[in-house]
């Protein structure tokens, strides 16, 4: 384990973060809202620390990164940018303690969208722009993380795409990982531009359109409005945002395929098919249960039901309605959505559709084997068998996910948080969604969570974002053994 090596990479990330901070500083200067000073100060600190760390830990070039070092770089890197990204929040004075600023920053970089701000409109525009920008950058990070780094480390649902699953990809994009990442970033940017244009057409200001795009594409969910998307109360904007949330929850490889004139790629991909069908079914069920009870007309139930289900299932976390007012069954379905998440290879969080799908198929196979004890069968995705190693890794992931969810809920409740708030807050943090139920519901926020609870939830967000294994590995003694 070459720690110097790990620090060197982290330093590069921090340095880049410092450069990125100049952008919101410019926005702040443009609106003259007084946020420029704290932003530039943070930029200077980040650039200074980045340079200093880099020079201290400078290493000769090396070809080989071990699996352990890879995990350390990912976990430490994400934590470090969470820390330095929190500086402008802290300096601005809108966040009383550093835990709050860190929470907000991590929530941004992990594209969670959980906020401790009680009055968003009071916060200067430069700072809010930074809040949206970190989600967008986080989304880019996730794309490269899921397609390139995590498979290399042997974790993550996306490893399936390496060899196991015959996705409709006749050409394997590009042979080199960095080229593939650049290609997918282009797709990401392209969709972002498209969304900005469509939102502008709906009457949003340039500032709002850009900020909301920055938080839709990475399935983040920060809004520049206290009421989130409900603020606009426009069917057009609802539909545009719903569309882009659904898009952001789909594997980016498939978008690339689609852009190369293979529109059927979405339907041919078993995971995407499962994802779209799940969405449709859940939307219909939720709309059915809230119709006549919360909303008078079927159209309204469908509009609000669809938006909330899409927002939570894709782990975005925007709101156009307060589902705390809905019936228990609708709330429970929303809660279930928090665990599902987007597709592997998308910017969505949660357990990922691919894993849910594998788990369901595996359970069916187990039952099938009870009926036919001598049968030989495989769990198949798209007609091709999935190896046992992948299945056990997926089952292990799901077990860890649920285990951590239960444990953290108990810890949070022990700090005096009520029952529904504790488990939904943890579920919404690990799943990188944002809003939970009760106190932390769509109209609430995380400001009431105790001091240590915020650290815990920040850790949960990192855990969920980095596919659990990468973070939890630091708690395993074997990791530290020489």
């Amino acid at each position: 384990m070459r720690w110097a090596f790990v620090f060197q990479y982290t330093a590069i990330l921090v340095f880049c973060l410092g450069l990125a901070l100049v952008v919101p500083a410019g926005v702040g200067a443009f609106y003259a809202d007084g946020s420029t000073r704290s932003l530039l100060m943070s930029a200077a600190i980040a650039v200074f620390f980045g340079t200093a760390l880099f020079l201290i830990f400078r290493q000769p070039r090396t070809e080989y990164i071990s699996q352990r070092e890879g995990m350390a770089i990912v976990a430490l890197g994400w934590t470090a940018i969470g820390f330095f990204g929190a500086l402008p929040f802290y300096f601005s004075g809108f966040f009383p303690v550093f835990a709050d600023a860190f929470f907000e920053s991590v929530s941004g970089f992990t594209t969670t969208g959980a906020s401790v701000l009680t009055d968003i409109e009071a916060v200067p525009r430069g700072l809010l722009f930074w809040r949206s920008l970190i989600q967008w950058l986080g989304g880019m990070g996730i794309i490269v993380l899921t397609i390139a780094i995590l498979p290399f480390l042997g974790v993550g649902g996306f490893q399936l795409y390496k060899a196991e699953v015959p996705t409709p990809m006749p050409d394997k994009l590009k042979p080199r990982i960095s080229d593939t990442a650049k290609l997918l970033w282009k797709v990401y940017v392209l969709f972002s531009v498209l969304e900005v244009i469509l939102l502008l057409a709906g009457g949003m200001t340039v500032y709002d359109a850009v900020c909301h795009t920055f938080t839709t594409m990475p399935t983040g969910g920060f809004s520049t409005k206290g009421l989130s998307i409900a603020h606009y109360d426009s069917l057009y904007i609802d539909i545009v945002i719903m569309g882009f949330m659904v898009i952001a929850g789909i594997n980016f490889f498939l978008h690339y395929q689609m852009l190369r004139a293979r529109p059927l790629a979405y339907w041919r991909d078993p995971e995407c098919r499962f994802y779209l069908l799940t969405l449709v079914v859940l939307i219909l069920v939720v709309s059915f249960f809230i119709n006549g009870q919360v909303y008078e007309s079927l159209g309204e139930s469908f509009r609000y039901g669809a938006f909330q289900v899409i927002s939570i299932l894709t782990t975005t976390g925007y709101a156009t309605a307060d589902y705390n007012q809905w019936s228990a069954v609708a709330q429970l379905i929303i809660l279930t959505c928090m665990f599902f998440g987007g597709s592997a290879g998308s910017t969505g969080g949660g357990m990922k559709i691919m894993r849910i799908m594998l788990c369901v198929k595996f359970c069916y196979k187990e039952l099938f084997n009870l009926v036919h004890p001598h049968s030989v069968s495989y769990v198949k995705i798209g007609g091709k068998p999935v190896s046992g190693a992948v299945i056990s890794s997926v089952l292990g992931f799901l077990a860890l996910y649920m285990g951590i969810f239960v444990l953290c809920s108990i810890v949070l409740a022990s700090m005096g948080v009520d029952f529904v708030t504790s488990f939904s807050a943890v579920a919404a943090s690990i799943g990188n969604i944002g809003p939970g139920l009760a106190l932390v519901g769509p109209v609430g926020n995380y400001s009431e969570i105790p001091y240590f609870g915020k650290w815990l939830l920040s850790w949960c967000m990192l855990l969920g974002r980095l596919e659990i294994y990468t973070v939890i590995i630091f708690l395993v003694p074997e990791f530290w053994r020489k």
Binding site: H372, H374, S375, V376, S377, Y378, K380, K384
Partner: protein, 453 residues
């Protein structure tokens, strides 16, 4: 006519003996000295020991004046190379290669059209799977072959004691069955006869008849066979044929189970099949069969490589309540025994291979050939040439030898089931049933008359 056969395996040996019986000049090439010895000891053929793909051996076998080369070794690759080499040495020889690997399926026609060194690719397994499908569809049939692109079916059925046809004369049949059928032959006590109108059918007869495809269902009903429609099938033996069959059945929406002994093969199958249930175990294990609900199976198809296992598993399955059984059998010597022990439907890859090969060996414009299971007779589909002897006069006056019968005429796509007054016109396709003794004469009739030159 000189025929060179590369590979003295099951198919090679049998074709050689068949051709030798018809007084054709046969040379067999095989690498295995023992197989060569067995061949030359038993058959009146020339046997050459050596590799069939070697130009030296091919020359020694006399490829230059051979009319047909049959490459039927176990190796697809050897067969291909043998054809290629033969083409280099003697381009005029007609070359047939057996290729069994499924990946080649789509390329059979391509070979025919574009690869000059192979005239025809044959794969008996495709034929076998087709026959099994027919058996599953037509209850009680022991033999089904398609003619006129499937418009005409040549079917062999055992007459059960309870059937309304038992005990009646052939000329009375039209009163009993609506669409017209033509009974071509009856096998009674292992003796094949071509019956006349006064012939009386009796229970236990194996009746071969031809009918139009669309009339087949009511005809089969008239035989009063007790059969249930096939929805669930159990395949014992997951080899090439089993896999092919399962894939076809899967497509047709029939529930399929495959029992296969080898664990390795099972996992291959499990990876390949979409819906079929793969069971690892011994098909003759009663407990396993009960566990897998053998009683509810509409059909059990036994396709292992072991003849005896196939027979026993089929009998066992029948006794345990399976609807019907289809048994893969290669040894012709067993065929006559099968009805006696209660096995009716039998498929034979060897027989299928022979059928296909015969079609190419027969002279004249022969389009397809079917051999009856016991090999006593053949059914040929051929084009009636203008100069042929059978053209232009009523059938009762034509010069067809005794022991043969015209059982179908296809004129401009229209199917005619002939009577004594029917006249064959030039260009018609005719279906002729012929006992094996008169095949050579039939060939002559189908060929262009000598004075034509």
């Amino acid at each position: 006519m000189k025929i060179i056969i590369v590979g003295a395996g099951e198919v090679g040996y049998h074709i050689a003996s068949r051709m030798a019986f018809e007084n054709k000049e046969v040379v067999v090439i095989d690498r295995n000295a023992e197989a060569i010895k067995r061949l030359s000891d038993n058959l009146d053929v020339e046997a050459v020991n050596g590799s069939g793909s070697s130009p030296r051996v091919l020359k020694a076998a006399g490829i230059k004046d051979a009319e047909i080369l049959l490459a039927v070794t176990d190796s697809d690759e050897t067969n291909l190379v043998a054809c290629m080499m033969a083409d280099v040495i003697s381009p005029t020889t007609k070359k047939l290669a057996r290729i069994r690997e499924g990946d080649f399926d789509a390329y059979h026609q391509v070979f025919h059209d574009q690869a000059p060194h192979i005239d025809t690719v044959i794969n008996p397994e495709i034929e076998v799977v087709k026959s099994i499908e027919q058996f599953l569809r037509i209850p009680g049939a022991v033999d089904v072959s398609d003619f006129a692109d499937g418009k005409l079916k040549f079917v062999g059925l055992y007459l059960d004691p309870g059937s309304r046809l038992a005990g009646i004369r052939l000329k009375e049949i039209p009163e009993k069955i609506e669409p017209r059928i033509l009974v071509a032959a009856v096998v009674r006590e292992e003796e094949l006869v071509i019956p006349g109108g006064d012939f009386r059918l009796s229970a236990g007869d194996l009746v071969y008849f031809i009918s139009e495809e669309k009339g087949l269902v009511p005809i089969i009903k008239a035989f009063d066979k007790q059969a249930r429609p096939v929805r669930r099938t159990l395949i014992v033996g997951g080899g090439r044929i089993g896999t092919r069959l399962a894939a076809v059945l899967e497509k047709g929406g029939i529930q399929t189970k495959i029992i296969e002994r080898s664990a390795q093969r099972c996992s291959e199958l499990a990876a390949e099949m979409k819906k079929a249930v793969i069971i690892q175990g011994d098909g003759s294990d009663q407990r396993l069969l009960i566990e897998e609900n053998i009683r509810e199976m509409d059909a059990v198809v036994t396709l292992t490589n072991d003849e005896e296992t196939n027979i026993l598993v089929s009998l066992l399955a029948k006794r345990m309540g399976a609807g019907k059984t289809i048994t893969k059998l290669n040894k012709f010597s067993y065929f006559p025994l099968m009805p006696a022990i209660g096995i009716e439907q039998v498929v034979s890859p060897r027989l299928s291979a022979i059928n296909t090969i015969l079609q190419h060996i027969r002279r004249g414009k022969v389009l397809s050939v079917r051999t009856l299971t016991d090999e006593q007779a053949e059914v040929l589909e051929a084009e009636a040439l203008e100069t042929s002897d059978i053209v232009g006069k009523p059938l009762r006056k034509s010069s067809l030898p005794k022991g043969s019968l015209v059982i179908g005429i296809i004129r401009n796509g229209q199917v005619i089931i002939p009577s004594g007054d029917s006249v064959i016109e030039p260009g018609d396709r005719v279906i002729i049933f012929a006992k094996r003794q008169v095949i050579a004469k039939i060939e002559k009739i189908l060929m262009v008359k000598l004075e034509f030159f």
